[in-house]
């Protein structure tokens, strides 16, 4: 009897527990990764920056293709090699009703270097500014020490907070030393998380933030521009991809980012669900150790020609000769990779084979740069020429939870290499372990990805190809340690050339040289996919950001 009662109660409960239908102007978005904080200047990373853009606007906007368009600044131009003038939009109000003026920009620039404990600071985007003048409330004149063409794009990366709302009245004088321009107290990270300080000019206002569960935003009815059609947008972090797809299918969420490749067919067959996709600027590449005479992940090449000096495991333990110093070997590796097969078979068609580090059409690319053609016979010939007729053994390192299908791509490449005589095994690991291992130079060959925040060639060239050099700011992620002084000089020159045409030519030339030298092997560009209700549309973005700003209902 008891059992029957219970099962009856359960059945009753289930039939009446129908999910509450959301009203038409509410939107729920399932995110693959959660922002670590609502503070717009605490953590400079994708998940935080995409959320930031809803609430805090920057001077300049990056459109779907990362082209710069006016936002809080209506126009900008260099007035000399080292000065820029920005005209600011009039009539813009913060969420608390205070006016947006040049003062707020200076206030924000002062706060950025003072944010405590930042694991990834925005100072990399403010350090170029040496002096800021505000001749009137809607004009900014920014001085840089050296010619600095990246200033506008860097001003698109950080959002502006209100000086008045945070209790600062009167003029603020910018001081580049990073100590806060004499302002003693800035709002703390936790005040942004609680919403108290979350006051921007964006088309959305802070609603509620529950870490790990949801971030709710409401429409800003006093927005200066066209605004959004959504009354309320709720972002839910659903990190497990199968659960994210299930939540979309169940109607819990209207829109999800990064549906897994194996579920795409299923999602496409659903009449109520549509996929939006866009070729991203994230390139998946192979870095090859080109540092010392020996390298840790290679066997069967014999004793090295010299002694290994510097950082890396070969400094303390015995390693064999590094074949990757030979351009012919690097070329052979490139020819051995069937990029089209990876795109079709591993990526389900959602990728574009790469011939450079940025897709065609982006700033500083070479028009018509083609991916290396698949040529296993040519690869074998090159290996013979280089003195490795019997090939050698190689370990390919890869993360298995960082990029789309990363470990599967590595498996496919290992088979392709093995086919031309380079017996390759894959060492796949979780991203935290992978990046730590990579940064200790324990890989001879590794797979990784690069998304260009600026959308121009200077980004990958500076970080991945430039020689590691602290004083010049080059090679921050160049763990293959390729080094070519000619390319370095070209990158440095491009980075201080304000004239866009000249800079594009310099960058394109440096990229062409790096590709010709097989400094790094680009594989493909990820195509980012979003899945959503069929009655929605998304302005899909090359920077892979998921933002309610681009989501509209079809009318």
């Amino acid at each position: 009897m008891k059992i029957r009662l219970i099962s009856f109660a359960a059945a009753f409960a289930m039939t009446t527990l129908a999910p509450v239908m959301a009203s038409a102007a509410d939107l729920t978005v399932g995110l693959a990764s959660e922002p670590s904080s609502i503070d717009p200047h605490y953590h400079n990373l994708g998940p935080n920056n995409e959320m930031r853009r809803h609430i805090f606007e920057s001077l300049i906007w990056q459109d779907e293709q990362q082209k710069l368009t006016p936002l809080l600044a209506t126009s900008w131009e260099p007035t000399s090699e080292t000065t820029w003038e920005f005209k600011l939009r009039k009539g813009v109000k913060f969420h608390d009703g205070s006016d947006f003026t040049a003062r707020d920009f200076v206030y924000t620039a002062c706060r950025i270097p003072t944010v405590p404990n930042s694991p990834s600071s925005f100072t990399i985007y403010t350090s170029a500014m040496k002096k800021i003048e505000t001749p009137d409330p809607h004009t900014l004149i920014i001085h840089t020490e050296k010619p600095y063409p990246l200033l506008p794009v860097e001003l698109a990366v950080w959002g502006i907070i209100s000086a008045t709302a945070n209790g600062v009245t009167g003029d603020i004088t910018f001081n580049p030393d990073g100590t806060g321009c004499g302002i003693t107290s800035f709002p703390q990270t936790k005040e942004f998380n609680s919403g108290q300080a979350t006051i921007g000019t964006g088309m959305f206002k802070y609603g509620e933030y529950v870490k790990g569960d949801r971030y709710v935003m409401n429409r800003n009815d006093a927005y200066w521009g066209e605004g959004t059609e959504w009354d309320t947008v709720t972002f839910k972090p659903i990190t497990n991809s199968a659960a994210r797809v299930a939540a979309l299918l169940a109607g819990d969420v209207d829109f999800i980012s990064k549906p897994p490749t194996q579920d795409l067919e299923r999602l496409e067959s659903e009449p109520d669900i549509t996929l939006s996709s866009m070729g991203s600027n994230r390139v998946i590449y192979l870095h090859m150790d080109q540092y010392g005479p020996s390298t840790p992940g290679v066997k069967g090449t014999g004793a090295p020609d010299g002694t290994y000096e510097g950082e890396g495991p070969c400094a303390t333990s015995a390693c064999e000769k590094n074949p990757l110093l030979d351009r012919r070997v690097r070329q052979a590796l490139s020819k051995a990779i069937n990029r089209d097969a990876i795109v079709d078979k591993v990526m389900g068609g959602y990728a574009v084979a790469a011939g450079e580090l940025l897709p065609q059409g982006f700033f500083g690319t070479n028009e018509g740069a083609k991916p290396e053609a698949y040529d296993p016979e040519g690869a074998k010939k090159l290996l013979v020429e280089a003195g490795y007729p019997n090939g050698f053994e190689l370990v390919l390192g890869t993360p298995n939870d960082r990029y789309i299908n990363d470990a599967k791509i590595a498996q496919a490449i290992a088979q392709m290499f093995t086919r031309v005589g380079i017996k390759t095994s894959v060492n796949a690991m979780t991203k935290s372990v992978f990046f730590a291992t990579r940064n200790k130079y324990e890989f001879s060959l590794y797979l990784a990805g690069w998304g260009s925040g600026t959308g121009e060639m200077s980004s990958p060239m500076r970080a991945l190809v430039g020689t590691r050099d602290k004083s010049r700011g080059l090679g921050g992620t160049n763990r293959g340690r390729y080094s070519n002084p000619v390319i370095d000089d070209m990158i440095m020159e491009a980075l201080s050339t304000v004239d866009d045409d000249k800079r594009a030519t310099l960058l394109a030339e440096s990229s062409r040289m790096a590709m010709e030298d097989y400094a790094i092997l680009p594989l493909h560009f990820e195509v980012t996919i979003w899945a959503h209700r069929s009655d929605l549309s998304y302005g899909a973005r090359a920077d892979q950001y998921t933002m309610a700003i681009g989501i509209n209902s079809k009318k």
Binding site: K2, L17, A18, P19, P119, D252, V433, S459, G473, G476
Partner: protein, 325 residues
């Protein structure tokens, strides 16, 4: 009694101390959190500045002693990822896990005990065999897969229950809980059921074995001889006697449900501490992971301590003074 308490407390402190060293060194050995947290566009100078800012450039023993000094002053450290006190973040998310755990154990009891008694009363019937077969499934099917199947069935195909998240919450005694709202209840049912399956199977087996044993006892025969109704014999005499092992086991299981509901929380995007732990390990957020495990160990120490005390109260033959625990 006093000597026992003092000895146990001292042991607990040593356990906590050793634990903190192991976890601290373990995460240090994996790598540098800045490698994952920093924007790749940052140049070498900025990378080094960030490592300095977070105090990660110092030797590991210096870092550990800084941590230890702070702990003794009641500060478990600030999360690298969230820039808020680690303990605060954990306590914020603890209610979600607590209600999930209590819900799961509650379901395990409500469904498990009657099912176990039936299986014990009619071991050879179809129902009895069916329940036992079901409990084998509950033991052996992976939680992850069952969770996804539950979502597919109840959320996607039938559309009865939401697939993920926590739903509406209301403040109750100063914490946010969801079991007091209808929307919250609909959200908690599937994850609680998923988490309960294993415990339920455990309870069914304990209840069944207990019932079979108790039914043969003299006092049951005597009760029947006295002419007591079947309902009273089973509902009072049998039930009371099979509860002792069930309560003991579930008490300990509650601890493990709270600490390690990781899989269920991940599948259902439940914002509890299990999901927090997994995310934090992925980000090498050392202060959070260390604080979490210290808290978990403390919780287990307290549960064990309470269980020992309870034993002595329940069974006078157990003298705490003699226990070498």
């Amino acid at each position: 009694m006093l000597a026992f308490t003092v000895r146990r407390l001292l042991q607990s402190v040593i356990v906590l101390f050793v634990m903190s060293i192991i976890v601290f060194l373990g995460i240090y050995a994996i790598g540098n959190p800045v490698d994952i947290l920093i924007n790749p566009e940052a140049d070498i100078a900025e990378q080094e500045a960030t490592i300095r800012r977070l105090g990660l450039d110092k030797p590991v023993w210096t870092q550990y002693f800084t941590f230890l000094t702070n702990v003794l002053q009641g500060d478990l450290g600030t999360s690298f990822v969230h820039n808020e006190p680690a303990l605060l973040i954990i306590l914020e998310r603890l209610p979600a896990t607590m209600e999930l755990a209590v819900g799961a154990v509650g379901l395990a009891i409500i469904i498990g005990i009657p099912a176990g008694i039936i299986a014990g009363l009619y071991p050879d019937s179809i129902i009895g065999r069916g329940i036992m077969a079901g409990s084998i499934l509950g033991f052996s099917l992976p939680t992850f897969w069952v969770g996804l199947m539950l979502i597919m069935l109840f959320s996607v195909m039938l559309g009865w229950l939401p697939a993920s998240g926590r739903g509406d919450t209301v403040g109750f005694l100063g914490v946010q809980v969801s079991f007091l709202t209808w929307d919250g209840l609909t959200h908690i049912f599937l994850p609680a059921f998923n988490l309960a399956l294993f415990k339920m199977s455990l309870v069914i087996r304990l209840a069944r074995a207990g019932t079979r044993e108790v039914m043969l006892q003299d006092y049951i025969k005597f009760a029947r001889a006295k002419g007591l109704s079947n309902v009273r014999v089973i509902g009072v005499h049998v039930l009371k006697n099979i509860l002792i092992p069930v309560v003991t086991v579930l008490g300990l299981e509650l601890g493990s449900v709270i600490a390690f509901a990781v899989v269920t929380e991940t599948v259902f995007a439940w914002p509890g501490i299990g999901k927090l732990l997994i995310d934090s390990i992925g980000n090498l957020d050392r202060p959070l992971v260390v604080a979490y495990l210290l808290m978990t160990v403390t919780m287990f120490i307290i549960i064990n301590f309470v269980v020992d005390i309870l034993y002595s109260l329940l069974d006078p033959r157990v003298r705490l003074g003699d226990m070498k625990a």
